[in-house]
Amino acid sequence: MLVGKASPDDMNLHPIRYQWAYDLYQQAVRNTWFPHEIALKEDLGDWANMTDDERHAVKFLMAFFNPAELIVNRSIALGIYPYLKSPECHLYLAKQMWEEANHCVAFEYVLQTFPFDRTEVFGIHLQTPSMLAKEAYINRYMKRMMEDSLDVETPEGKKDFLRNLVATNIVMEGIWFYSGFMVALSFRQRNQLRNLGSMINWVIRDESLHLKFGINLIHNILEENAELVDASFAQEIAGIIVEGVNLETAYNQDLFPRGILGLNADYVNQYVQYVADRRLEELGLGKHYNVTNPAKWMSTATDVFELVNFFEAQNTSYEVDSGSKHK
């Protein structure tokens, strides 16, 4: 069983029962990267030429992402990791938590390199109602996981576990982050902030794996606990996702009070709905919004292999291990 109270056999990695989780761990290790590999300073020239609205968007994104990475870690540490029995999943989550920390430090590196008023940026998420609402939403589910009354062996306890997992993994990492990535990469698409774009590519590579893990975890838990699967719980989960989309819509109005070249709040919101539909489908819930992807250029940004001229940009496709016999 994946979810439940820890028992002594849970400390044995072998025999491996959840190979998929172990495989994801191996891939995550290969994906290791460090912020200092990116020559971020080279983006400062672009920064100097950006409009106020563009700068606001970048700052706002950083203000969200920097604490958000730590919030994900809290949610994993307090709401996910303790209730999983599988050592394979623990391995993966340990690497994921390092990655979240690494992302946090990467965004910290951005904050230190760009001429930001850091106090101001750190203050944004504490003062902007749309951001506070997003954080409150995550905390709501996470808090439940820390209450004494939670018994993860019961169906209701397992449902709580899934609610928190969906809020953190599907909504925060799988929808909110993806919308932020699209905005960040749009600068790269216009040939601005190229190095930040390389960093975001790495973050997306990591987050894609987090999401793969999360979705796999949800599916496997549902499979092991068939009694949880009914129409009302399905509706509830879908509701959690739709609520997340609504919060993001409000946030995007603050991100883009007016538009910038290539982007405005409506555009980003349509993308959010497009991504949310994908997440709903991935959980077997069916599309809710039925919108098209407005950001067709994302095919260039993320969908195909990237050929990097090594003396022009950081090649972000390298993996750290080599010489493995298998694969």
């Binding site: 998929w20 793969k212 129409a231 940004a301 195909v304 292999f305 010489g323």
Partner: protein, 965 residues
């Protein structure tokens, strides 16, 4: 929602957004294309999606261009629209308003040219000779603005961004045709008739038949003509020279050159320093200074400083050197900007094969090793080993050669460094090392020039576009000859105009007159001819083409020598002995003691090499002639595949200084469009990340021609390079692409490269095992895991809310009615064609004029049917040491079986019957099955390994090939 939008005009005034105006502008960019109405609608709609109140006119232009460009993967005609929209902004800036009238534009474009040149001379940006030497009116009359239609979007955007000159306000003030004319003029000052000659050069470049190297494109015609691309310098083991070298690196980088820097001579860590009785800190800290130096120079804001270190692998610190590019570790021991390469001897490769020990020494004690090569190196190396064993060396260590080899390749796989280059095939085959040993190659591993304390080697580059010489499925040999001759002349002219920042470089440039004519568009040409890259015929084509180009280049240099005189160090060179590049293979084989298996006779009966040998003996204008550069930028400008690279993928993105571009294979798209398949498969091609091998609808013979670099056998890369290298006097930037991470397989690939006589290899690209989640394709990870989640209990969308209208749906766009209409599409006719047995390009080839027969058409005569390796490497003849050296038993090239990617299509996984998850709870659900589960299970995509219809390279597969038996 769009009604309140206002546009901020260039003068700062605001005007209401006028959709009609935008539509008209897009319409004009769509003239002559297949389906202009729907294209206009698409672009206009998507442009409006991104607008906001107060957007500037310039941003509007960009928004329109971006809207066009993001549709390129739907239809390559959007690329054309992007090109036209972008050029329009440039035309308007350079020649003023032209009312969208092509005739008016053409007239103004010509009329403005003399004014433009005079202004630029006056402002000091251009050399005064640009005005004094030329009949500007005549040059203006020669301009052909219609050639701008040849560009791809990525090409014209790169050209404008990187190479086009800017005024003080940083605005680009050159149209592409002005740009080509500037280069042509800037290299014709010293001609007897500069105007006539400039027109000839212009004519080649403006048709994208050849493109000059990056530094030439930036500097030609300007008042600071630093036109050389490549510099190779050696750092000597004394503090003054190290300091000077750091300064040289800075100066060369500033003048936009790429550097090769050899550190082999620097004494090892712990080696004693006489002056202070202390010990040296080794090469790493000094390299770090240079790494930081190149980082400091962002060349003209257009190109990062670029440098590659070279070190021989017997250096005591070599094990540390291997780790210089790792992403973890002490930053003082890591090079963040510079690249690394290793300079490998045959002795090392032989010791790896034999499982012998490898000794590492302090250069201070073995200073002559860096100057020696071939057997002379082996002999001296053995003597030092004896001294070490006898306790007569201060510093040395040993390790199994195989262990060092493993470490090198492990680092190569995980960091793509150090690149492998072979000093002995370089030096033994050189015709130009009569002035000294070649100690390194350059930044892109295609240059082989000697250097010493007084000479910093310099090379000047042009690459011809082979694809531009394919016409009606034939090579236009006459045109190719003309291109080669003009390119060589243009390069030779360059040397007398070039202004270099350092005396040692100036000397080397003027005394050797080294040039490097490259070739790009090789894979593109093969595709147009219908020849698979991975085939004996592809290799044969390389052999034949490179022989022809080499012949013409050498002949032209000999012609120039007759008129202009030989280069200073001609006497004593290999040329002066009447040698041509192919003659030097025997020397490598003699010194190594085994054959490369390469044939040395001609592939082109019309070429008289003996006559050329005699002519060469009489004089050569240039110490070197050919070098195949990677062309990462100029290949993009020319809209073709770079160098001898295979197609990276049928669709991929390029991360460039000038932007991130979608690259889609136009040849494939045209073929698929002709078959009526394009619309059906275009999304799948993106889903499969540009690999068509698992797409059932596409006929198998196209899959052979259109492989990706990761599905092509690495042995094909080696074979193409080996055949080309026969004729190329310098080297080729041979990128290697591997899908398979198995270390043993990788070792065999690189061992085979060495045995087959390659001089260098370049970047190693490993296929990523995991990439980011795709955005624009249909992704369902639940289905990929064969899970259905809540699908069994969910009937319909969760809430009753009406689906949100997308902004696209909210703002319909009216298309102007004066659109030039294309005739209504003809009624559908079903054409029944035998798909799998299609003869491909056979009808065209059957005309008989095709010099190189497409692979699938017919079996080729006798010799050519054999696969290249078996033919060129006769097993019986292999172990035949030509000189007295311990015979090395060499088996015929072992080319291990290459495993093509076994892609697992998502649909296949989704349809797996196991683990239906919630299917069991369906009965309890009060609602009907949702769409996801009512859709019939898609037919699984079965991936069959197609039987190759061309002779494979791999011997294991060859054993099953009928025509090889």
């Amino acid at each position: 929602m769009m009604t309140q939008i206002t546009i901020t005009k260039r003068d700062g005034n605001k005007e209401p957004f006028n959709a009609d105006k935008i539509n008209r502008s897009i319409e004009r960019a769509c003239i002559g294309l297949t389906d202009p109405i729907s294209m206009v609608t698409q672009i206009a709609t998507e442009t409006q999606l991104t607008l906001y109140d107060g957007i500037t006119t310039e941003e509007m232009d960009m928004a329109t261009i971006n809207a066009a460009v993001q549709n390129i993967k739907e239809d390559i005609e959007y690329d054309k629209v992007g090109v036209r929209l972008l050029l329009k902004t440039v035309y308007r800036r350079v020649v003023g308003e032209f009312h969208d009238d092509p005739a008016e534009l053409d007239a103004k474009h010509r009329a403005q040219f003399p004014v433009h040149i005079k202004n630029m001379v006056q402002s000091g940006l251009l050399d005064v000779r640009m005005q004094e030497k030329y009949d500007l009116e005549k040059l203006a009359a020669a301009l052909k603005i219609e050639r701008d239609e040849l560009f791809t979007y990525a090409g014209v955007s790169t050209l404008l961004d990187r190479y086009s000159m800017r005024n003080e306000a940083q605005k680009r003030i050159e149209t592409p045709q002005y740009f080509f004319m500037r280069i042509a003029m800037g290299l014709s000052y010293n001609e007897a008739n500069p105007t006539e000659q400039a027109i000839k050069f212009y004519d080649r470049m403006s048709q994208l038949l050849y493109i000059a190297g990056g530094s030439t494109n930036l500097g030609a015609g300007t008042s600071r003509p630093a036109l050389s691309n490549c510099f190779l310098l050696e750092v000597h083991d004394d503090m003054d020279h190290i300091a000077k070298s750091v300064a040289d690196v800075l100066k060369i980088s500033k003048a936009s050159g790429g550097l090769g820097v050899s550190l082999t001579k620097l004494r090892a860590t712990g080696s004693t320093l006489k002056a202070s009785n202390t010990v040296s800190s080794g090469p790493t800290p000094f390299a770090k200074i240079m790494d930081t130096a190149v980082h400091a120079i962002v060349r003209g804001g257009k190109k990062k400083g670029a440098l590659c270190f070279y070190m021989e692998n017997w250096h005591y610190d070599f094990p540390e050197y291997i780790d210089w590019k790792h992403n973890a570790g002490d930053d003082y021991m890591r090079m963040r900007t510079a690249n690394t390469a290793t300079w490998i001897s045959d002795e090392f490769m032989k010791r790896v094969e034999a499982g012998d020990e490898w000794y590492l020494f302090d250069p201070k004690e073995v200073m002559d090793l860096n100057e020696l090569y071939g057997q002379a190196f082996s002999k001296r190396y053995a003597e030092y080993i004896e001294k070490a064993k006898a306790g007569q060396m201060k510093m040395w260590k040993k390790m199994p050669a195989t262990e060092l080899w493993s470490n090198m390749l492990t680092a190569l796989q995980s960091t793509s460094h150090p690149w492998l280059t072979w000093k002995d095939s370089i030096n033994l085959r050189a015709l130009n090392n009569n002035t000294g040993t070649i100690h390194m190659s350059n930044l892109c591993t295609e240059i082989c020039l000697p250097q010493d304390k007084d000479n910093i080697a310099v090379c000047n580059l042009i690459s011809l576009n082979l694809a531009g010489h394919i016409e009606g499925k034939q090579v236009n040999w006459y045109k190719l000859e003309e291109t080669v001759r003009l390119a060589v002349r243009q390069l030779d002219n360059l040397i007398d105009i070039n202004v270099l920042p350092i005396e040692e470089a100036r000397r080397s440039d003027s005394e050797n007159r080294a040039i490097g004519l490259g070739v790009m568009g090789f894979a593109d040409a093969l595709e147009q001819l219908g020849i698979p890259y991975e085939s004996g015929h592809g290799a044969e084509f390389a052999d034949r083409i490179f022989e022809f180009i080499s012949y013409m280049a050498i002949d032209e240099s000999a012609n120039l020598a007759k008129v202009r005189g030989s280069y200073k160090h001609f006497v004593g060179s290999g040329w002066s002995e009447g040698l041509v590049p192919v003659d030097t293979i025997a020397r490598v084989e003699a010194e190594r003691g085994f054959l490369t298996g390469l044939k040395k006779d001609t592939r082109n009966k019309q070429l008289n090499w003996d006559a050329l040998r005699a002519k060469v003996k009489g004089g050569m204008r240039n110490a070197t002639l050919m070098a195949v550069a990677p062309n990462a930028n100029i290949g993009l400008v020319a809209g073709t595949t770079p160098g001898i690279d295979p197609r990276f993928a049928q669709v991929f993105s390029r991360n460039k200084f000038s932007g991130k571009y979608m690259d889609i294979n136009h040849n494939l798209v045209k073929d698929l469009k002709n078959m009526g398949l394009w619309d059906e498969v275009k999304e799948k091609i993106v889903e499969q990340q540009g690999d068509i091998s698992a797409i059932n609808e596409i006929p198998s013979y196209l899959k052979q021609i259109y492989k990706t670099s990761f599905t092509t056998s690495p042995y094909a890369f080696i074979e193409v390079a080996a055949r080309a290298q026969k004729w190329v006097d310098q080297a080729l930037s041979r990128n290697i692409y591997l899908e398979n991470r198995d270390m043993d397989a990788m070792k065999q690939v690189y061992m085979a490269a060495w045995k087959r006589g390659l001089k260098t290899t370049y970047y190693l690209h490993m296929k990523p095992r995991h990439s980011a989640e795709q955005s624009t394709t249909h992704v369902n990870k639940g289905a990929q895991f064969a899970k259905r989640g809540f699908a069994g209990v969910v009937a319909s969308p969760i809430s009753t809310e009406a689906p949100t209208l997308s902004p696209i749906q909210q703002s319909p766009v009216t298309v102007h009615e004066t659109m030039p209409l294309t005739p209504n599409s003809a009624p559908a006719v079903e054409v029944v064609m035998p798909v799998e047995t299609s003869r491909g390009f056979a009808p065209a080839a059957a005309q008989g004029a095709l010099p190189i027969q497409p692979a699938m058409q017919q079996s080729l005569p006798g010799e050519m049917t054999a696969s290249p390796i078996s033919r060129d490497l006769p097993v019986q003849d292999v172990v035949k040491p030509v000189v007295a050296v311990a015979p090395i038993a060499v088996a015929p090239l072992q080319t291990p079986s290459y495993q093509p990617i076994q892609a697992v299509a998502p649909a296949q996984m989704a349809s797996a019957p196991s683990r239906m998850g919630f299917a069991t709870v369906v009965s309890s659900a009060p609602i009907q099955m949702p769409a996801a589960s009512t859709v019939p299970t898609p037919a699984p995509i079965v991936i069959k390994k197609e039987k190759a219809f061309v002779c494979p390279i791999d011997p294991a597969e060859r054993a099953q090939c009928d025509s090889c038996q």
